[in-house]
Protein backbone atom coordinates (compact mmCIF):
# COMPACT_ATOMS: atom_id res chain seq x y z
CA UNK A 1 0.00 0.00 0.00
CA UNK A 2 1.53 3.27 -1.11
CA UNK A 3 1.72 6.09 1.38
CA UNK A 4 3.34 8.51 -1.01
CA UNK A 5 3.40 8.30 -4.77
CA UNK A 6 4.51 10.60 -7.54
CA UNK A 7 3.52 10.42 -11.17
CA UNK A 8 5.82 11.90 -13.79
CA UNK A 9 6.92 14.52 -11.31
CA UNK A 10 8.95 17.38 -12.75
CA UNK A 11 10.61 20.30 -11.06
CA UNK A 12 12.46 22.74 -13.30
CA UNK A 13 14.23 25.89 -12.20
CA UNK A 14 14.97 28.84 -14.43
CA UNK A 15 18.53 30.05 -14.35
CA UNK A 16 20.59 32.46 -16.43
CA UNK A 17 22.09 29.56 -18.33
CA UNK A 18 18.80 27.90 -19.10
CA UNK A 19 16.28 25.56 -17.52
CA UNK A 20 17.69 23.33 -14.79
CA UNK A 21 15.86 20.04 -14.93
CA UNK A 22 16.38 19.11 -11.27
CA UNK A 23 13.66 16.48 -11.10
CA UNK A 24 12.81 15.21 -14.55
CA UNK A 25 9.86 12.87 -14.86
CA UNK A 26 10.17 10.86 -11.66
CA UNK A 27 7.54 8.30 -10.66
CA UNK A 28 8.43 6.96 -7.25
CA UNK A 29 6.49 5.47 -4.36
CA UNK A 30 6.96 5.03 -0.64
CA UNK A 31 5.17 2.03 0.83
CA UNK A 32 3.52 2.37 4.24
CA UNK A 33 5.92 1.48 7.04
CA UNK A 34 9.05 1.24 4.93
CA UNK A 35 12.26 3.18 4.66
CA UNK A 36 12.97 4.14 1.09
CA UNK A 37 16.59 5.10 0.55
CA UNK A 38 17.37 7.58 -2.22
CA UNK A 39 20.97 7.82 -3.36
CA UNK A 40 22.84 9.68 -6.05
CA UNK A 41 25.67 12.16 -6.53
CA UNK A 42 25.37 15.87 -5.84
CA UNK A 43 23.08 17.53 -8.31
CA UNK A 44 21.12 14.39 -9.10
CA UNK A 45 17.94 15.96 -7.74
CA UNK A 46 17.42 13.81 -4.65
CA UNK A 47 16.97 16.76 -2.30
CA UNK A 48 14.69 18.59 -4.72
CA UNK A 49 12.62 15.43 -5.05
CA UNK A 50 12.17 15.22 -1.26
CA UNK A 51 11.16 18.83 -0.99
CA UNK A 52 8.81 18.71 -3.94
CA UNK A 53 7.03 15.67 -2.53
CA UNK A 54 6.42 17.60 0.68
CA UNK A 55 5.29 20.56 -1.43
CA UNK A 56 7.88 22.79 0.16
CA UNK A 57 8.48 23.76 -3.43
CA UNK A 58 5.86 23.74 -6.15
CA UNK A 59 6.18 21.04 -8.79
CA UNK A 60 6.44 22.12 -12.42
CA UNK A 61 4.21 19.27 -13.55
CA UNK A 62 3.17 15.77 -12.57
CA UNK A 63 1.16 14.47 -9.66
CA UNK A 64 1.81 13.81 -5.98
CA UNK A 65 -0.43 11.45 -4.01
CA UNK A 66 -0.46 11.13 -0.25
CA UNK A 67 -2.43 8.26 1.24
CA UNK A 68 -4.24 7.83 -2.06
CA UNK A 69 -5.26 11.46 -2.30
CA UNK A 70 -4.02 13.86 -4.97
CA UNK A 71 -2.28 16.68 -3.09
CA UNK A 72 -0.57 18.32 -6.06
CA UNK A 73 -2.74 21.40 -6.01
CA UNK A 74 -3.74 21.38 -2.37
CA UNK A 75 -3.27 24.69 -0.57
CA UNK A 76 -4.52 26.85 2.27
CA UNK A 77 -6.15 25.17 5.25
CA UNK A 78 -6.21 21.72 3.60
CA UNK A 79 -2.47 21.77 3.03
CA UNK A 80 -1.83 23.07 6.53
CA UNK A 81 -3.69 20.21 8.15
CA UNK A 82 -1.77 17.80 5.96
CA UNK A 83 1.53 19.33 7.09
CA UNK A 84 1.37 17.55 10.41
CA UNK A 85 1.32 14.21 8.65
CA UNK A 86 4.51 14.84 6.71
CA UNK A 87 7.70 16.45 7.84
CA UNK A 88 11.37 16.85 7.06
CA UNK A 89 14.70 16.73 8.89
CA UNK A 90 17.56 18.65 7.31
CA UNK A 91 21.27 17.98 7.12
CA UNK A 92 22.53 20.82 9.26
CA UNK A 93 20.89 20.93 12.70
CA UNK A 94 22.66 24.20 13.54
CA UNK A 95 20.80 26.18 10.91
CA UNK A 96 17.57 24.24 11.49
CA UNK A 97 17.23 25.42 15.09
CA UNK A 98 16.62 28.98 16.25
CA UNK A 99 19.49 30.03 18.54
CA UNK A 100 17.13 32.18 20.62
CA UNK A 101 14.67 29.40 21.34
CA UNK A 102 14.93 26.60 23.89
CA UNK A 103 14.21 22.99 23.09
CA UNK A 104 10.82 23.50 24.77
CA UNK A 105 10.01 26.36 22.38
CA UNK A 106 11.01 24.29 19.39
CA UNK A 107 8.67 21.47 20.36
CA UNK A 108 5.95 23.79 21.61
CA UNK A 109 5.37 25.64 18.33
CA UNK A 110 4.19 22.73 16.21
CA UNK A 111 2.09 21.27 19.03
CA UNK A 112 0.27 24.57 19.56
CA UNK A 113 -0.10 25.45 15.87
CA UNK A 114 -1.65 22.10 15.10
CA UNK A 115 -3.78 22.02 18.24
CA UNK A 116 -2.36 18.70 19.25
CA UNK A 117 -2.74 19.01 23.02
CA UNK A 118 -5.46 20.13 25.42
CA UNK A 119 -3.46 20.92 28.49
CA UNK A 120 0.02 22.01 29.48
CA UNK A 121 0.37 18.78 31.40
CA UNK A 122 -0.37 16.64 28.38
CA UNK A 123 1.95 18.76 26.30
CA UNK A 124 4.85 18.25 28.70
CA UNK A 125 4.19 14.54 28.91
CA UNK A 126 4.28 14.33 25.18
CA UNK A 127 7.47 16.35 24.86
CA UNK A 128 9.27 14.26 27.46
CA UNK A 129 8.08 11.08 25.82
CA UNK A 130 9.42 12.10 22.42
CA UNK A 131 12.69 13.34 23.91
CA UNK A 132 13.12 10.03 25.71
CA UNK A 133 12.54 8.15 22.48
CA UNK A 134 15.36 10.19 20.98
CA UNK A 135 17.61 9.43 23.95
CA UNK A 136 17.27 12.88 25.53
CA UNK A 137 15.90 13.84 28.94
CA UNK A 138 13.29 16.21 30.31
CA UNK A 139 16.06 18.52 31.54
CA UNK A 140 17.02 19.22 27.93
CA UNK A 141 13.76 21.16 27.49
CA UNK A 142 15.27 24.26 29.06
CA UNK A 143 18.46 24.13 26.99
CA UNK A 144 19.33 26.43 24.11
CA UNK A 145 20.82 24.98 20.92
CA UNK A 146 24.34 26.21 21.74
CA UNK A 147 24.24 24.15 24.95
CA UNK A 148 23.79 20.95 22.96
CA UNK A 149 26.28 18.88 21.00
CA UNK A 150 25.81 18.37 17.25
CA UNK A 151 24.25 14.96 17.75
CA UNK A 152 21.89 16.27 20.43
CA UNK A 153 20.82 19.15 18.16
CA UNK A 154 19.97 16.70 15.39
CA UNK A 155 18.01 14.59 17.87
CA UNK A 156 16.01 17.68 18.82
CA UNK A 157 15.29 18.30 15.13
CA UNK A 158 14.07 14.73 14.75
CA UNK A 159 12.00 15.02 17.94
CA UNK A 160 10.43 18.18 16.57
CA UNK A 161 9.61 16.44 13.31
CA UNK A 162 8.14 13.48 15.16
CA UNK A 163 6.15 15.30 17.84
CA UNK A 164 3.15 15.73 15.56
CA UNK A 165 3.17 11.98 14.98
CA UNK A 166 3.56 12.24 11.22
CA UNK A 167 3.02 9.32 8.87
CA UNK A 168 5.88 10.32 6.61
CA UNK A 169 9.28 11.82 7.23
CA UNK A 170 11.83 12.95 4.67
CA UNK A 171 15.31 12.63 6.16
CA UNK A 172 17.68 14.67 4.03
CA UNK A 173 21.26 13.64 4.89
CA UNK A 174 20.40 13.68 8.60
CA UNK A 175 23.78 12.37 9.77
CA UNK A 176 26.23 13.86 7.26
CA UNK A 177 27.33 16.60 9.61
CA UNK A 178 27.95 14.22 12.52
CA UNK A 179 30.78 12.04 13.78
CA UNK A 180 30.56 8.32 13.01
CA UNK A 181 29.92 7.21 16.58
CA UNK A 182 27.10 9.77 16.82
CA UNK A 183 25.81 8.80 13.39
CA UNK A 184 25.28 5.19 14.36
CA UNK A 185 23.45 6.28 17.50
CA UNK A 186 21.07 8.49 15.50
CA UNK A 187 20.38 5.67 13.06
CA UNK A 188 19.44 3.39 15.92
CA UNK A 189 17.15 6.03 17.41
CA UNK A 190 15.52 6.62 14.03
CA UNK A 191 14.91 2.93 13.71
CA UNK A 192 13.35 2.80 17.16
CA UNK A 193 11.15 5.83 16.43
CA UNK A 194 10.02 4.28 13.17
CA UNK A 195 8.62 1.26 14.94
CA UNK A 196 7.17 3.20 17.86
CA UNK A 197 5.36 5.85 15.82
CA UNK A 198 4.71 3.73 12.70
CA UNK A 199 6.22 6.35 10.45
CA UNK A 200 7.60 5.81 6.95
CA UNK A 201 10.91 7.33 5.94
CA UNK A 202 12.39 8.63 2.76
CA UNK A 203 16.08 8.60 3.59
CA UNK A 204 18.13 10.77 1.23
CA UNK A 205 21.88 10.41 1.34
CA UNK A 206 25.03 10.24 -0.70
CA UNK A 207 26.51 7.83 1.85
CA UNK A 208 25.77 4.54 0.19
CA UNK A 209 26.92 2.25 3.01
CA UNK A 210 24.62 4.11 5.35
CA UNK A 211 21.60 3.80 3.09
CA UNK A 212 22.34 0.13 2.70
CA UNK A 213 22.02 -0.37 6.43
CA UNK A 214 18.79 1.54 6.90
CA UNK A 215 16.70 1.02 3.75
CA UNK A 216 14.05 -1.54 2.89
CA UNK A 217 13.90 -0.37 -0.69
CA UNK A 218 16.34 1.72 -2.64
CA UNK A 219 16.01 4.29 -5.41
CA UNK A 220 19.03 5.42 -7.41
CA UNK A 221 18.90 8.81 -9.11
CA UNK A 222 21.04 10.26 -11.84
CA UNK A 223 20.68 13.74 -13.30
CA UNK A 224 17.07 14.23 -12.31
CA UNK A 225 15.95 10.73 -13.27
CA UNK A 226 15.23 7.60 -11.33
CA UNK A 227 17.42 4.92 -12.94
CA UNK A 228 16.82 1.92 -10.68
CA UNK A 229 14.44 1.16 -7.83
CA UNK A 230 13.64 -2.00 -5.92
CA UNK A 231 14.37 -4.11 -2.87
CA UNK A 232 17.47 -2.73 -1.18
CA UNK A 233 19.16 -6.09 -0.58
CA UNK A 234 18.51 -7.20 -4.17
CA UNK A 235 20.01 -4.05 -5.63
CA UNK A 236 23.03 -4.14 -3.33
CA UNK A 237 23.65 -7.79 -4.08
CA UNK A 238 23.20 -7.40 -7.78
CA UNK A 239 22.98 -3.88 -9.15
CA UNK A 240 21.68 -3.93 -12.71
CA UNK A 241 21.80 -0.40 -14.05
CA UNK A 242 25.31 0.48 -15.28
CA UNK A 243 25.24 3.65 -13.19
CA UNK A 244 24.27 1.80 -10.01
CA UNK A 245 27.04 -0.70 -10.69
CA UNK A 246 29.64 2.00 -11.20
CA UNK A 247 28.45 4.00 -8.20
CA UNK A 248 28.68 1.02 -5.85
CA UNK A 249 32.16 0.20 -7.13
CA UNK A 250 33.28 3.70 -6.14
CA UNK A 251 32.27 3.24 -2.51
CA UNK A 252 35.22 2.49 -0.23
CA UNK A 253 34.65 -0.46 2.09
CA UNK A 254 36.23 -0.59 5.54
CA UNK A 255 38.45 -3.47 4.49
CA UNK A 256 42.09 -2.86 3.57
CA UNK A 257 42.12 -5.83 1.19
CA UNK A 258 39.38 -4.35 -0.96
CA UNK A 259 40.31 -1.36 -3.05
CA UNK A 260 37.79 0.73 -4.94
CA UNK A 261 37.91 1.20 -8.63
CA UNK A 262 37.15 4.56 -10.11
CA UNK A 263 34.82 3.43 -12.86
CA UNK A 264 33.01 6.73 -13.16
CA UNK A 265 35.22 9.06 -15.12
CA UNK A 266 34.48 12.68 -15.77
CA UNK A 267 31.88 14.78 -14.04
CA UNK A 268 28.13 14.58 -13.74
CA UNK A 269 26.85 16.55 -16.74
CA UNK A 270 25.01 19.77 -16.07
CA UNK A 271 21.26 19.45 -15.52
CA UNK A 272 20.93 22.51 -17.75
CA UNK A 273 20.67 20.90 -21.18
CA UNK A 274 21.01 17.30 -20.04
CA UNK A 275 22.11 14.95 -22.83
CA UNK A 276 19.49 13.77 -25.30
CA UNK A 277 18.54 10.16 -24.75
CA UNK A 278 19.80 8.41 -21.64
CA UNK A 279 21.38 10.94 -19.28
CA UNK A 280 24.08 8.46 -18.29
CA UNK A 281 25.06 7.51 -21.86
CA UNK A 282 28.10 9.86 -22.09
CA UNK A 283 29.72 8.17 -19.05
CA UNK A 284 28.33 4.68 -19.60
CA UNK A 285 30.77 1.89 -20.44
CA UNK A 286 28.03 -0.02 -22.25
CA UNK A 287 26.42 2.76 -24.16
CA UNK A 288 25.01 1.88 -27.60
CA UNK A 289 23.77 4.17 -30.34
CA UNK A 290 20.17 3.86 -29.15
CA UNK A 291 21.20 5.23 -25.73
CA UNK A 292 22.21 8.56 -27.19
CA UNK A 293 18.98 8.80 -29.17
CA UNK A 294 16.16 7.67 -26.91
CA UNK A 295 15.54 8.12 -23.24
CA UNK A 296 14.92 4.68 -21.69
CA UNK A 297 11.67 4.15 -19.76
CA UNK A 298 11.60 2.75 -16.27
CA UNK A 299 10.54 -0.84 -16.86
CA UNK A 300 10.01 -3.95 -14.74
CA UNK A 301 12.91 -6.41 -14.86
CA UNK A 302 14.63 -8.67 -12.37
CA UNK A 303 11.97 -7.97 -9.74
CA UNK A 304 12.70 -4.26 -9.75
CA UNK A 305 12.43 -1.27 -12.06
CA UNK A 306 15.31 -0.23 -14.29
CA UNK A 307 15.67 2.54 -16.85
CA UNK A 308 18.21 1.12 -19.28
CA UNK A 309 18.00 0.01 -22.92
CA UNK A 310 19.97 -3.14 -22.15
CA UNK A 311 17.05 -4.60 -20.23
CA UNK A 312 14.36 -4.11 -22.85
Amino acid sequence: MNLVETENLKKFFDSKKGTVKAVNDVSINVIKGETLGVVGESGCGKTTLGRTILKLIKPTSGKIYFDGKDITNLDGEDMRSLRKKMNIVFQDPVSALNPQMTVYDHLNRPLVIHNMVDSEEEKLRRMVDILNTMGLKAEHLIRYPHELSGGQKQRVCIARALCLEPDFLVLDEPTSALDVSVQSKILKLLDRAKRKFKVSYMFISHNINLVRAISDRLGVMYLGKLVEIGDSTDIFNEPKHPYTQALFKSVPQPDPDEKVEAPLTGQVPSPVNPPEGCAFAPRCPRSQSVCERDNPDLIEAYGRKIACHRYK
Binding site: N209, A213, P254, K259, A262, V268
Partner: protein, 331 residues
Protein backbone atom coordinates in the same frame (compact mmCIF):
# COMPACT_ATOMS: atom_id res chain seq x y z
CA UNK B 1 68.83 19.91 5.43
CA UNK B 2 69.93 16.44 4.43
CA UNK B 3 68.25 15.15 1.30
CA UNK B 4 69.50 11.58 1.23
CA UNK B 5 66.34 10.10 2.66
CA UNK B 6 65.26 6.83 1.16
CA UNK B 7 61.93 5.09 0.98
CA UNK B 8 61.13 3.70 4.42
CA UNK B 9 63.28 6.22 6.32
CA UNK B 10 61.49 8.46 8.77
CA UNK B 11 60.63 11.79 7.12
CA UNK B 12 58.46 13.46 9.73
CA UNK B 13 58.77 12.51 13.38
CA UNK B 14 56.36 14.04 15.88
CA UNK B 15 57.57 13.23 19.36
CA UNK B 16 55.64 13.56 22.60
CA UNK B 17 53.89 16.70 21.37
CA UNK B 18 51.90 18.53 24.04
CA UNK B 19 49.81 21.54 23.23
CA UNK B 20 47.23 23.76 24.91
CA UNK B 21 44.91 26.52 23.85
CA UNK B 22 44.13 29.44 26.11
CA UNK B 23 40.45 30.30 25.86
CA UNK B 24 38.05 32.42 27.88
CA UNK B 25 36.53 29.31 29.39
CA UNK B 26 39.86 27.85 30.41
CA UNK B 27 42.81 25.95 29.07
CA UNK B 28 42.02 23.37 26.40
CA UNK B 29 44.46 20.50 26.66
CA UNK B 30 44.32 19.72 22.96
CA UNK B 31 47.31 17.39 22.57
CA UNK B 32 48.67 15.22 25.33
CA UNK B 33 51.79 13.44 24.18
CA UNK B 34 51.36 12.69 20.48
CA UNK B 35 53.86 10.47 18.65
CA UNK B 36 53.58 10.06 14.90
CA UNK B 37 56.24 9.01 12.42
CA UNK B 38 55.65 9.36 8.71
CA UNK B 39 58.12 7.45 6.59
CA UNK B 40 59.23 8.36 3.08
CA UNK B 41 56.83 6.90 0.55
CA UNK B 42 54.22 6.00 3.13
CA UNK B 43 50.62 7.08 3.54
CA UNK B 44 49.99 7.55 7.23
CA UNK B 45 46.37 7.87 8.28
CA UNK B 46 45.22 9.72 11.36
CA UNK B 47 41.67 8.96 12.38
CA UNK B 48 39.50 10.30 15.15
CA UNK B 49 36.31 12.20 15.85
CA UNK B 50 35.74 15.93 16.17
CA UNK B 51 38.07 17.48 18.70
CA UNK B 52 40.49 14.57 18.96
CA UNK B 53 43.35 16.82 17.89
CA UNK B 54 44.03 15.38 14.45
CA UNK B 55 43.88 18.70 12.62
CA UNK B 56 45.77 20.57 15.34
CA UNK B 57 48.62 18.08 14.99
CA UNK B 58 48.97 18.88 11.31
CA UNK B 59 48.69 22.64 11.79
CA UNK B 60 51.44 22.47 14.43
CA UNK B 61 53.69 20.76 11.93
CA UNK B 62 53.46 23.69 9.53
CA UNK B 63 53.55 26.38 12.21
CA UNK B 64 50.01 27.47 11.36
CA UNK B 65 48.59 27.58 14.89
CA UNK B 66 46.50 30.41 16.25
CA UNK B 67 48.03 32.88 18.68
CA UNK B 68 46.35 31.31 21.68
CA UNK B 69 48.17 28.01 21.21
CA UNK B 70 50.96 27.10 23.66
CA UNK B 71 53.31 24.24 22.92
CA UNK B 72 54.04 22.54 26.22
CA UNK B 73 56.59 20.04 25.08
CA UNK B 74 57.77 17.71 22.38
CA UNK B 75 59.41 18.01 19.01
CA UNK B 76 58.38 17.97 15.38
CA UNK B 77 61.36 16.73 13.41
CA UNK B 78 61.36 16.99 9.65
CA UNK B 79 64.41 15.37 8.10
CA UNK B 80 65.95 15.67 11.55
CA UNK B 81 65.31 19.41 11.99
CA UNK B 82 62.97 20.58 14.73
CA UNK B 83 60.28 22.68 13.04
CA UNK B 84 59.03 24.02 16.35
CA UNK B 85 62.32 25.88 16.81
CA UNK B 86 62.32 27.32 13.31
CA UNK B 87 61.40 30.98 12.84
CA UNK B 88 58.55 32.06 10.60
CA UNK B 89 60.77 33.27 7.80
CA UNK B 90 62.62 29.96 7.56
CA UNK B 91 59.40 28.00 7.74
CA UNK B 92 58.09 29.98 4.82
CA UNK B 93 61.28 29.84 2.78
CA UNK B 94 62.41 26.30 3.46
CA UNK B 95 59.47 24.21 4.56
CA UNK B 96 56.03 25.31 3.43
CA UNK B 97 55.50 24.50 -0.19
CA UNK B 98 58.87 23.12 -1.20
CA UNK B 99 59.04 20.45 1.51
CA UNK B 100 55.57 20.12 3.02
CA UNK B 101 52.27 21.08 1.39
CA UNK B 102 48.82 20.95 2.84
CA UNK B 103 45.36 20.59 1.38
CA UNK B 104 42.14 21.17 3.26
CA UNK B 105 38.57 19.94 3.22
CA UNK B 106 37.18 22.84 1.27
CA UNK B 107 39.32 23.62 -1.79
CA UNK B 108 37.23 26.61 -2.79
CA UNK B 109 38.50 28.56 0.23
CA UNK B 110 42.11 27.62 -0.56
CA UNK B 111 42.05 28.95 -4.11
CA UNK B 112 42.06 32.61 -4.98
CA UNK B 113 38.77 33.43 -6.71
CA UNK B 114 40.17 36.22 -8.92
CA UNK B 115 42.97 34.26 -10.60
CA UNK B 116 42.59 31.38 -13.02
CA UNK B 117 43.64 27.92 -11.90
CA UNK B 118 46.61 27.97 -14.28
CA UNK B 119 47.95 31.31 -13.02
CA UNK B 120 47.80 30.09 -9.43
CA UNK B 121 49.74 26.94 -10.17
CA UNK B 122 52.20 28.93 -12.28
CA UNK B 123 53.11 30.97 -9.21
CA UNK B 124 54.48 27.82 -7.59
CA UNK B 125 56.17 26.69 -10.80
CA UNK B 126 57.94 30.03 -11.16
CA UNK B 127 59.22 29.89 -7.58
CA UNK B 128 60.29 26.27 -7.52
CA UNK B 129 60.97 25.13 -11.07
CA UNK B 130 61.45 27.64 -13.84
CA UNK B 131 60.92 31.35 -14.25
CA UNK B 132 60.88 31.12 -18.03
CA UNK B 133 57.33 32.15 -18.99
CA UNK B 134 56.78 29.68 -21.80
CA UNK B 135 58.39 26.80 -19.96
CA UNK B 136 56.44 27.55 -16.78
CA UNK B 137 53.18 27.41 -18.65
CA UNK B 138 54.11 24.07 -20.16
CA UNK B 139 55.04 22.72 -16.73
CA UNK B 140 51.67 23.82 -15.35
CA UNK B 141 49.90 21.94 -18.12
CA UNK B 142 52.01 18.87 -17.30
CA UNK B 143 50.97 19.05 -13.65
CA UNK B 144 47.31 19.42 -14.59
CA UNK B 145 47.64 16.41 -16.81
CA UNK B 146 49.33 14.45 -14.03
CA UNK B 147 46.30 14.87 -11.76
CA UNK B 148 44.14 13.51 -14.60
CA UNK B 149 42.23 16.69 -15.29
CA UNK B 150 40.59 16.31 -18.67
CA UNK B 151 41.59 19.01 -21.13
CA UNK B 152 44.35 20.82 -19.15
CA UNK B 153 44.40 23.81 -21.54
CA UNK B 154 40.77 24.44 -20.78
CA UNK B 155 41.22 24.12 -17.01
CA UNK B 156 44.24 26.45 -17.12
CA UNK B 157 42.03 29.38 -18.08
CA UNK B 158 39.17 28.59 -15.74
CA UNK B 159 38.46 30.49 -12.54
CA UNK B 160 37.89 28.42 -9.38
CA UNK B 161 34.13 29.02 -9.41
CA UNK B 162 33.94 27.44 -12.85
CA UNK B 163 35.40 24.18 -11.53
CA UNK B 164 33.64 21.49 -9.53
CA UNK B 165 34.83 20.58 -6.03
CA UNK B 166 36.67 17.52 -7.27
CA UNK B 167 38.44 19.52 -9.97
CA UNK B 168 39.39 22.25 -7.48
CA UNK B 169 40.89 19.66 -5.17
CA UNK B 170 42.92 18.31 -8.08
CA UNK B 171 44.14 21.82 -8.87
CA UNK B 172 45.37 21.96 -5.26
CA UNK B 173 47.25 18.71 -5.79
CA UNK B 174 48.74 20.04 -9.05
CA UNK B 175 49.95 23.06 -7.10
CA UNK B 176 51.60 20.81 -4.56
CA UNK B 177 53.27 18.83 -7.35
CA UNK B 178 54.54 22.06 -8.84
CA UNK B 179 56.29 22.77 -5.54
CA UNK B 180 57.95 19.36 -5.60
CA UNK B 181 56.89 18.78 -1.99
CA UNK B 182 58.03 15.59 -0.30
CA UNK B 183 55.23 15.47 2.24
CA UNK B 184 51.57 16.16 1.69
CA UNK B 185 49.33 16.81 4.64
CA UNK B 186 45.75 16.16 3.57
CA UNK B 187 43.10 17.21 6.07
CA UNK B 188 39.78 15.56 5.14
CA UNK B 189 40.39 16.26 1.44
CA UNK B 190 37.47 14.18 0.16
CA UNK B 191 34.82 14.88 2.78
CA UNK B 192 33.10 17.41 0.52
CA UNK B 193 33.30 15.21 -2.58
CA UNK B 194 30.97 12.63 -4.10
CA UNK B 195 32.01 8.99 -3.88
CA UNK B 196 32.76 8.72 -7.58
CA UNK B 197 34.99 11.80 -7.43
CA UNK B 198 36.50 10.59 -4.17
CA UNK B 199 37.41 7.29 -5.84
CA UNK B 200 39.17 9.15 -8.68
CA UNK B 201 40.97 11.37 -6.18
CA UNK B 202 42.21 8.51 -4.00
CA UNK B 203 43.46 6.76 -7.10
CA UNK B 204 45.51 9.83 -8.01
CA UNK B 205 47.04 10.01 -4.53
CA UNK B 206 47.93 6.32 -4.62
CA UNK B 207 49.52 6.84 -8.03
CA UNK B 208 51.63 9.75 -6.74
CA UNK B 209 52.84 7.66 -3.84
CA UNK B 210 53.99 5.01 -6.31
CA UNK B 211 55.49 7.27 -8.95
CA UNK B 212 57.07 9.94 -6.75
CA UNK B 213 57.52 8.22 -3.41
CA UNK B 214 55.33 10.95 -1.99
CA UNK B 215 54.63 10.72 1.73
CA UNK B 216 51.15 11.63 2.88
CA UNK B 217 49.77 12.39 6.32
CA UNK B 218 46.10 11.69 5.69
CA UNK B 219 43.65 13.03 8.25
CA UNK B 220 40.08 11.79 8.19
CA UNK B 221 37.16 10.57 10.28
CA UNK B 222 36.22 7.97 7.68
CA UNK B 223 37.36 4.43 8.49
CA UNK B 224 36.52 3.26 4.97
CA UNK B 225 38.78 5.87 3.38
CA UNK B 226 41.55 4.93 5.82
CA UNK B 227 41.32 1.29 4.74
CA UNK B 228 41.36 2.40 1.15
CA UNK B 229 44.49 4.47 1.03
CA UNK B 230 46.66 4.20 4.15
CA UNK B 231 49.62 1.97 4.96
CA UNK B 232 49.80 2.81 8.64
CA UNK B 233 47.08 4.20 10.90
CA UNK B 234 47.12 6.21 14.11
CA UNK B 235 43.87 6.34 16.06
CA UNK B 236 43.47 9.48 18.17
CA UNK B 237 41.05 10.15 20.97
CA UNK B 238 40.76 13.27 23.07
CA UNK B 239 44.24 14.52 22.26
CA UNK B 240 45.90 11.19 22.99
CA UNK B 241 46.92 8.27 20.83
CA UNK B 242 44.77 5.20 21.39
CA UNK B 243 46.29 2.79 18.92
CA UNK B 244 48.72 2.61 16.05
CA UNK B 245 49.30 -0.21 13.60
CA UNK B 246 49.67 -1.32 10.03
CA UNK B 247 46.30 -0.90 8.31
CA UNK B 248 45.73 -4.65 7.82
CA UNK B 249 46.63 -5.40 11.41
CA UNK B 250 44.40 -2.61 12.71
CA UNK B 251 41.31 -3.84 10.90
CA UNK B 252 41.99 -7.51 11.57
CA UNK B 253 43.15 -7.25 15.12
CA UNK B 254 42.05 -3.98 16.76
CA UNK B 255 42.92 -3.90 20.44
CA UNK B 256 41.79 -0.56 21.81
CA UNK B 257 38.10 -0.46 22.79
CA UNK B 258 37.75 2.88 21.00
CA UNK B 259 39.16 1.52 17.72
CA UNK B 260 36.77 -1.40 17.94
CA UNK B 261 33.87 0.97 18.56
CA UNK B 262 34.89 3.08 15.56
CA UNK B 263 35.14 0.09 13.24
CA UNK B 264 31.78 -1.22 14.39
CA UNK B 265 30.00 2.06 13.88
CA UNK B 266 30.96 2.18 10.21
CA UNK B 267 28.06 1.23 8.00
CA UNK B 268 29.40 -1.31 5.55
CA UNK B 269 30.87 -3.50 8.25
CA UNK B 270 27.40 -3.87 9.65
CA UNK B 271 24.69 -4.48 7.12
CA UNK B 272 21.67 -3.77 9.25
CA UNK B 273 20.76 -1.35 11.98
CA UNK B 274 20.52 -4.03 14.65
CA UNK B 275 24.16 -4.94 14.13
CA UNK B 276 25.37 -1.40 14.68
CA UNK B 277 27.28 -0.89 17.84
CA UNK B 278 27.46 2.54 19.25
CA UNK B 279 30.00 4.07 21.55
CA UNK B 280 28.06 5.39 24.54
CA UNK B 281 28.44 9.00 25.61
CA UNK B 282 30.05 11.81 23.65
CA UNK B 283 33.50 13.13 22.85
CA UNK B 284 34.91 14.84 25.97
CA UNK B 285 35.54 18.55 26.23
CA UNK B 286 39.22 19.07 26.69
CA UNK B 287 38.99 21.97 29.12
CA UNK B 288 38.53 19.47 31.90
CA UNK B 289 39.50 16.24 30.22
CA UNK B 290 38.74 12.98 32.02
CA UNK B 291 41.62 11.90 34.27
CA UNK B 292 43.81 8.93 33.42
CA UNK B 293 42.74 7.37 30.13
CA UNK B 294 40.56 10.00 28.49
CA UNK B 295 38.34 7.30 27.01
CA UNK B 296 37.42 5.72 30.36
CA UNK B 297 33.97 7.36 30.83
CA UNK B 298 32.80 5.75 27.59
CA UNK B 299 34.63 2.45 27.89
CA UNK B 300 32.97 -0.81 28.88
CA UNK B 301 36.27 -2.25 30.09
CA UNK B 302 37.11 0.70 32.36
CA UNK B 303 38.10 0.05 35.97
CA UNK B 304 39.55 2.10 38.80
CA UNK B 305 43.08 2.25 37.36
CA UNK B 306 41.80 3.77 34.09
CA UNK B 307 40.61 6.81 36.02
CA UNK B 308 43.88 7.20 37.83
CA UNK B 309 46.63 6.39 35.41
CA UNK B 310 47.11 7.32 31.78
CA UNK B 311 47.98 4.11 29.93
CA UNK B 312 51.32 4.15 28.14
CA UNK B 313 51.52 3.36 24.45
CA UNK B 314 52.72 -0.21 24.54
CA UNK B 315 54.11 -2.28 21.67
CA UNK B 316 52.07 -5.47 21.89
CA UNK B 317 53.31 -6.92 18.65
CA UNK B 318 55.84 -5.67 16.16
CA UNK B 319 54.70 -2.19 15.07
CA UNK B 320 51.34 -2.52 16.80
CA UNK B 321 50.97 -0.04 19.66
CA UNK B 322 48.04 0.22 22.06
CA UNK B 323 47.40 2.58 24.95
CA UNK B 324 45.01 0.58 27.13
CA UNK B 325 45.43 -0.99 30.56
CA UNK B 326 43.30 -3.96 29.61
CA UNK B 327 44.07 -4.55 25.94
CA UNK B 328 44.60 -8.25 26.61
CA UNK B 329 40.97 -8.61 27.71
CA UNK B 330 39.50 -6.64 24.82
CA UNK B 331 37.68 -8.61 22.19
Amino acid sequence: MSSDIHVGDPLLVIEDLKLEFKTEEGTVKALDGINITVKKGEIHGVIGETGCGKSVTSLTTLGLLDNNARIRGGEVLYKGVNLLKMNDEDLRQKIRGNEISMIFQNPSTSLNPVYTAGEQIKESVVIYQSDDKKEAQKLVLDELDRVKLPDPEDVYDKYPHELSGGMQQRVMIAMMLACNSNLLIADEPTTALDVSIQAQFLKILRGLKESRDLSILYITHDMAVISEICDVVTVMYGGQIAEKADVHELFKNPKHPYTIGLIHSVPGVMESIEEFETIPGTVPRLINPPSGCRFHPRCEYAREICKEKKPELEEIEKDHFVACHFWEEVE
